[in-house]
Symmetry: C2
Subunit: 345 residues, 2 copies
């Protein structure tokens, strides 16, 4: 008999509500003989205001012992921009070496999209998670004066790029269309661009069945709205991945249904699964949040831990719910209950 | 009687064809007593292959003498990525201190958009043009080895940010809705983010009539497809501006109609006007290119040189042509002729 020892971080705003539904679905879908243990952590704005802490070394030591982490959302207008993002979310992604940030986009039949003609959308973005302009390198001189200079350094290593490119090729290889698109801006960011392009070309030779192409990030945003069907797997850097996955979510059902996994493929550290959306303080506590993105993140979590059949059941439940929900207005809890009933049956 | 001394850079691919139409419209719209002098420059792939040169100091000296520059497109697959972009286009933008990169987006009635429901789109992006990750700062060590590290440095100065933010506020102030949105990623790029945000807040105090808000770049891409009507004027850095203006073009009629101005507001150096699209070598020389983006860039050029009535006439001609063109298939030349006839009448 197996067990899952899960760290649960509800976080701020709607994080609390959506994580509750994610756990409900997890309990409903797991086989009887799998023991689910959960430990809740109080990270986020409240703890920051009370203690000034965002994520301590002791916290990291505790989190490290879990098999995986389920996160709701972190962020509140009462905390200055950047404090929780850099001090908690990015700190955790970097500390646990979450270098594969996986973000699937699939537009299901009947689901609303801002695009005309309901195009076919079924791709996955493999966003690098530990390098690029996200490292916190950079600084400020003469702050607050008319001579201030602020820099941000994008750091890209052969080691960091190759492992994520290789992961993306393996994912493309495992999909029916076997197509991988590199997204960068190698005509302007030529130092990083050459590194990404050369490694992409090198690794491509090991995956002769995978069709490859390249798009500048600006052109990629055009295709995401004019021809999203052209994408199968995309690999890109941390910042470009951040930008295009929000756009991808917007065209494929909205950020209410966009899931993500911050994955450490070696298993050295626990991987973390979280909806792409934020804490949405404006609707928090009102039962208005759509828990679907969290539930789909639970599916990614299940797949990561080897529960493929259960992951598929959750995804099928969500697909059925999305195609059948029409204009019905349901509470967060009602959607969770409906999904729990589907996965259990 | 006045005169315009114009530098013309047709460039590569469809650049030749579209610039010819731009000049046709310019000749047709200018009052009889304005003397139009043009000098053509042969920059681009052909010259690079023949001489190895992209843009010399002597070239810059010649270009400097003109009142403005009209550019078609630069770029060809025969030249390695980055060589012409960094060696010509960005070199010129930096040498002539084109710090206001102006990119209007307007969806005209009847014009195709990938968005459902034909939303109202009428905004302008003020993209910073001389800083950010575009400066070429950065480098590579251990190139080609498994220990390669490549960096890209985004450089942001109070001087550079304040002048473009001020320009954007003035533009917002002059528009009916008077709304300005700052787009950045200040929760992750905290050094540059603080600089941009603080200066934005400071300058806002001088423009009490302008409503302001802030969006992270990832959220901005969502709104560009779900609620583009929310935007009036956007100010943002060089890279974010590059990305969101391609998306903006895609949703508001396509890059076939997206114009841009690389403006040096002080007039110390000539400003440069160019379509947002590239050289499209796949359709070059076939009369398939839409010259509209170039013609609208000519309108920006006219406005910059003080020919406001003529600029408006060109924009009205384009608006009428776009709303009436329907599914008609016309050559580059035919579209140019139709527009020339409209502005002359
Ligand atoms: C909150 C922020 C730090 C984060 C990011 O930029 O990665 C978010 O936008 C995301 O995409 O998960
Ligand atoms: C060709 C390239 C250097 C350029 C840019 O990135 O600025 C282009 O994409 C643009 O937007 O004008």
């Amino acid at each position: 008999s197996h067990s899952i020892n899960l760290a649960v971080i509800p976080g701020d705003g709607i994080g609390q509500e959506v994580v509750a539904q994610g756990l409900k679905i997890l309990a409903a879908v797991l086989p009887q003989d799998v023991k689910l243990e959960t430990e809740e952590y109080d990270f986020g704005a409240k703890r920051y205001h009370a203690t000034g802490e965002t994520l301590t070394d002791a916290d990291l030591d505790s989190l490290k012992k879990h098999d995986a982490i389920l996160l709701g959302a972190i962020g509140d207008p009462s905390v200055p921009s950047g404090v929780l993002e850099r001090g908690f979310l990015l700190k955790l992604r970097f500390a646990f070496d979450h270098h594969v940030n996986l973000r699937p986009s699939k537009l299901l039949p009947g689901v609303a999209t801002p695009l005309a003609g309901q195009p076919e959308i079924d791709f996955v973005v493999v966003r690098e998670g530990t390098e690029g302009p996200y490292t916190g390198n950079g600084g400020t001189i003469r702050k607050g004066t008319e001579h201030e200079v602020a820099t941000e350094v994008s750091v890209n290593t052969a080691f960091g790029v190759e492992r994520v490119v290789r992961d993306a090729f393996a994912r493309a290889q495992a999909r029916p269309r076997k197509k991988l698109t590199l997204v960068h801006k190698n005509n302007v960011l030529t130092f990083a661009g050459h590194l990404w392009t050369n490694i992409f070309t090198k690794v491509a030779a090991e995956f002769p069945e995978v069709t490859t192409d390249y798009l500048h990030v600006d052109a990629a945003t055009i295709f995401l709205v004019t021809d999203p069907a052209r994408f199968d797997v995309i690999v890109t850097d941390n910042l470009f991945g951040d930008i295009i996955t929000d756009l991808a979510a917007a065209v494929s059902g909205g950020i209410g249904v966009a899931a993500s996994g911050n994955i450490n493929p070696s298993g050295e550290f626990p991987s973390m699964f979280e909806p792409v959306h934020g804490s949405a303080p404006d609707i928090a506590g009102q039962g208005k949040a759509d828990p679907t993105a969290t539930v789909l993140s639970v599916a990614l979590l299940l797949r990561h831990l080897g529960y493929e059949a259960e992951a598929a059941r959750v995804e099928e439940a969500v697909a059925a719910d999305l195609t059948e929900r029409g204009d019905s207005v349901r509470t967060t809890d009602e959607i969770g209950d409906a999904l729990a009933a589907r996965v259990a049956s």
